[in-house]
């Protein structure tokens, strides 16, 4: 192949890639527009009937509207209207912390009623999900920077909501941030240890000018990290793939290092890249011999999945785990793969992600419904026609991460916006991050 031919192939594949990205992003956007309650800006956790709101999904929604405006798929006026509705709702919401409230101490219950916005399912006041919500709130405030009454109001509300969060209270006088609280029993004890998606939570909690966490909280958390050599890759270990994505959806970790990463001569961006390669290697090895697993078919993450749980029986042996944080290399692994998590690795390792995405879409078209990836599919549980088991409906978290990470790959738009966020910058610096864009003066990244 000569140089002209090579160049022609590259242009063709780039065009094809762009078309694919457009298709996936527009379909993902459709999820938010279809499940949105325009009166309060809340968005459903899943597309299944009766689904409550997940506050994290609202955070993703607030982040994807600006991207959709930039791409011409949503008017700025609509995006502003939806965002303002959500921010106004949270500002006025019941913060008493009572069992039927919406939040407490600036945090919010994980699941809310889509019409009334009050707590449902006796869900916990969730620190990590509040962080994902507030990241979306801040994204909106950075995007809508025009000097108009509505955009001024939006920025004021965003600042109010962020500053209202009492991150210090969430420490519960301990070394690290608690993950949940319930009015019925107080703080919950999940015992999270090791690297997780909580890096965003810590950065936001450190950046607060009003109620930042105190002490050596970030260091206490990172002291549970494990730096491992697995399949000949050195990386900061976390099994489920989404852990390597969620904070990265908002924060550009390229070239910036905290104390841990400086010592390891790496950064969190590189780490997510290695995590993708490790996932691919695990699927190639396919230790449990599940159908479909291959170099171009991977993605073990937190997702829905088939279940063999029998509600009336509590002591039956289980091999299928339903909604679970599947991970590499220790599982749990029941043959269920999460395509959205593969797409979310796009900014880190496009050279392996694109091939995998194309392969999975071609081989298992049934997992794409309305052009959107379902939460998961399981080729080991194929029907008589050879079609893989597919998780019904769609999950908002999946659609949000797909849309954002494709955009971060294409234009780095969210990363650029958030670089200008003073709270994020302060939080990163207080966590000990240096280098890269953090050393450059912030620039206005608004749209």
């Amino acid at each position: 192949m000569n140089r002209v031919e090579r160049r022609s192939r590259t242009v063709q594949s780039t065009l094809a890639d762009e078309a694919l990205f457009d298709r996936l992003q527009r379909a993902a956007l459709g999820y938010f527009l279809q499940t949105l309650n325009p009166f309060n800006g809340l968005v459903a956790d899943t597309s299944r009937p009766g689904s409550p709101v997940s506050i994290a999904v609202v955070g993703f929604a607030l982040s994807v509207y600006p991207l959709a405006v930039d791409r011409g798929w949503l008017t700025r006026a609509d995006a502003l209207r939806f965002s303002l509705a959500a921010l106004r709702f949270f500002q006025a919401s019941d913060q008493s912390g009572s069992p039927g409230a919406t939040g407490y101490k600036g945090f919010y219950y994980h699941f809310l009623d889509i019409h009334t916005g009050v707590r449902v399912w006796r869900s916990e006041l969730s620190m990590i999900d509040t962080a994902l919500l507030i990241a979306g709130v801040l994204t909106a405030s950075l995007y809508f920077c025009a000097d108009t009454a509505d955009e001024n109001e939006l920025r004021g509300l965003a600042d109010f909501l962020y500053r209202r969060i009492d991150w210090r209270w969430a420490q519960d006088s301990g070394e690290t941030i608690r993950q949940g609280w319930k009015p019925e029993c107080g703080f919950l004890h999940y015992g999270w240890e090791g690297y997780s998606e909580a890096i965003l939570l810590y950065v936001l909690a450190l950046g607060s000018p009003s109620c930042a966490i105190v002490g050596d909280c970030y260091r206490a958390w990172t002291s549970t990290y494990q730096w491992e050599n697995l399949y000949d890759h050195d990386y900061l270990y976390a099994g489920p793939l989404f852990v390597h994505h969620f904070s990265h959806a908002w924060i550009d970790f390229r070239g910036i290092h905290d104390g841990f990463m400086r010592e390891k001569c790496s950064d969190y961006f590189q780490n997510s890249r290695r995590a993708a390669y490790i996932q691919r290697e695990y699927a190639r090895r396919n230790p449990q011999e599940f159908a479909g697993y291959a170099e171009n078919c991977w993605g073990l993450s937190a997702c829905d999945g088939p279940s063999d749980e029998q509600p009336q029986l509590s002591n039956e042996p289980r091999r299928l785990f339903g909604y679970a944080a599947r991970g590499v290399p220790y599982g749990p692994d029941d043959g269920t793969l999460c395509a959205p998590s593969v797409v979310a690795s796009l900014p880190f390792a496009p050279e392996i992600v694109l091939d995998a995405v194309r392969h999975m879409m071609e081989r298992y078209p049934e997992m794409c419904v309305e052009g959107r990836f379902s939460s998961s599919f399981n080729p080991s549980l194929a029907d008589d026609n050879g079609r893989a088991w597919v998780s019904p409906g769609h999950y908002g978290l999946d659609q949000g991460i797909v849309l954002m990470m494709i955009e971060n790959h294409r234009s780095q738009r969210i990363w650029e916006l958030m670089r200008a966020c003073p709270y994020i910058r302060d939080g990163l610096q207080r966590a000990g991050f240096h280098g890269g864009w953090l050393q450059q003066p912030p620039f206005a990244g608004a749209g």
């Binding site: 029993c185 004890h189 549970t224 050599n229 000949d232 289980r318 220790y330």
Partner: protein, 507 residues
């Protein structure tokens, strides 16, 4: 007659039991006349006491060994030995049910013969008791006494009406199960490791309180023997000290076995209704009640320090932490030492034995052996087994020791694959940019055997570079350790050198 699953259970008096008692506490044993003064008086004939007695006698010392119950202590009678026997039988039943996984037919009618399983427990326990019988100890020169001990002074104690004087003494009275204070538990009745091996009928439904090593081992064993088992742990994961992945793999294994796992859950009350035990559980704001036939309690161990009149000997102790010792295992009375569960944080048979060796060195040979110098491995014998030695990563991080872990999942090991035992991993922690081994965790079917190689390397100061040179027989599961060492070697080449090498190879 249906068995009551409570404290009233006693050991069936069969031939095995009579043989065991003849060894570990002969019914007509006559205590010897006490010598004028002993070089070493040992209180407690568990692993630490036995180990010290045999070593001291071999050195020519005059030794008295005193036991109030059974020679062999918990390890032989109520702990490691009987639990491993029952675990083996349970594993066999699990494999029979899972036969298809091994390309074999599942037997058509698997009926668990629980009574036979427990008879095997008694037979093997009885067989092993012969090794350190009272008669044999006596024959090698140990003055063997049975009876309650009371210290009467800094260098004397009484047993069975006789006063024994000593130059040095060793307290090795071990520990007993720690029963949680749960309203209604005592009235409802419960099992502990001290009587669970005396069962002859399988409880149909069993609740295990506590997710420590023994609780996990027995929960899995009884589940595999057919008991509908629930395990309740008040922490987010089992085996509180182990690393997260190890504990998570165990939770997954329990789920596969059909054990109902209740993490982050506390038992708040027990009551008896209609002949069954109703156990109230609370997990955060979720309350539930489980109906069972038997409850296995005994969270952790409490040191046996009561009734010894330690005050008279000037020996400091704490009811929950045990006898206070320095790094040389000396108590607050310089003539008296302690070893084993009664004073150590790590309550294992092998730690008891190691501590006994230190005491003999320090007490009789004026040695300066330190407990803190020991490299202590341990293992929980679930399926898969979970073994550890040395530092955990979180400990290294807290001490600002840069640490890197070389991880080999067992699915990378051919022998694990051929045996369909791919679950688990070998993780070896080294000081970053060196090959010095700081610690290791192994989760594998035979992790307990595999950890010994890492322990040897740590004791001998052997690093991963040298381990990579050790030829491991192929195919063995211990090859995982060599693979970790190989992975280390591959990281030694900087990327620039590696690419130069690649270019040179291409010439």
């Amino acid at each position: 007659m249906t068995q009551d699953y409570d404290g009233s259970i006693t050991t069936p008096q069969d031939a095995y039991e009579r043989q065991r008692l003849a060894s570990v506490h002969p019914p007509r044993w006559v205590n010897p006349h006490a010598a004028e003064r002993y070089h070493l008086v040992i209180v407690g004939a568990g692993p630490a006491g036995l180990g010290a007695a045999k070593t001291a006698v071999a050195l020519g010392a005059r030794v008295a060994l005193i036991e109030c119950r059974l020679i062999g202590g918990d390890c032989l009678n109520n702990g490691c030995v009987p639990s491993k026997v029952i675990i083996r039988t349970a594993q066999l039943y699990a494999e029979m049910r899972d036969a298809r996984h091994y390309g074999a037919q599942v037997p058509s009618d698997i009926q668990v013969d629980f009574a036979a399983a427990m008879e095997r427990v008694r037979r093997i326990r009885s067989h092993l008791s012969g090794g350190d019988s009272a008669a044999r100890l006596s024959a090698i020169g140990v003055d063997m006494f049975f009876g309650e001990v009371r210290f009467t002074g800094a260098d004397s104690l009484t047993v069975d009406g006789q006063t024994l004087r000593f130059r040095k003494a060793l307290i090795a009275t071990g520990a007993a199960p720690n029963i949680p204070l749960i309203p209604g538990l005592a009235q409802a009745g419960y099992l502990t490791n001290e009587n669970v091996f005396d069962l002859t009928e399988l409880p149909r439904r069993l609740l295990v309180i506590g997710g420590g090593p023994l609780g996990c081992e027995l929960a899995q064993a009884f589940s595999r023997l057919g008991a509908q088992t629930t395990i309740v742990q008040d922490m987010p994961l089992f085996l509180g000290n182990e690393e997260r992945d190890a504990a998570q793999l165990l939770s997954d294994a329990f789920a596969r076995d059909g054990i109902e796992v209740r993490l982050n859950t506390q038992v708040v009350a027990v009551r008896v209704e209609g002949g069954q035990k109703l156990v109230d559980l609370v997990s955060d704001d979720y309350r539930s009640t489980v109906a069972v036939d038997a409850i296995l309690a005994g969270i952790g161990l409490s040191p046996n320090v009561q009734g010894l009149n330690l005050e008279a000997a000037g020996v400091d102790y704490d009811a929950s932490e045990g006898i206070r010792v320095d790094d040389f295992l000396r108590t607050s009375n310089p003539l008296i030492y302690a070893a084993g569960d009664v004073c150590l944080e790590h309550k294992y048979t092998h730690t008891a034995l190691a501590s006994a060796r230190i005491v003999v060195q320090n007490a009789l040979l004026r040695g300066r052996e330190r407990m803190s110098r020991l490299v202590i491995p341990w293992c929980t014998y679930t399926d898969p087994e979970i073994a550890h030695v040395g530092l955990y990563v979180r400990e290294a991080n807290r001490r600002d020791i840069p640490v890197k872990t070389f991880t080999i999942p067992m699915h990378q090991v051919d022998r694990a694959v051929t045996d369909s035992e791919e679950e688990g991993f070998v993780k070896i922690h080294v000081r970053e940019r060196t090959d010095q081994i700081l610690g290791a965790t192994i989760v594998a079917r035979h992790a307990g055997d595999m950890i010994n190689e890492i322990t040897l390397a740590m004791v001998a100061g052997v690093g991963l570079r040298t381990l990579a040179l050790v030829i491991h027989a192929y195919p063995t599961q211990a090859e995982a350790i060599r693979k970790a060492a190989d992975a280390y070697n591959r990281t030694r080449l900087p990327p620039r050198v590696r690419s130069r090498l690649a270019r040179w190879m291409e010439r």
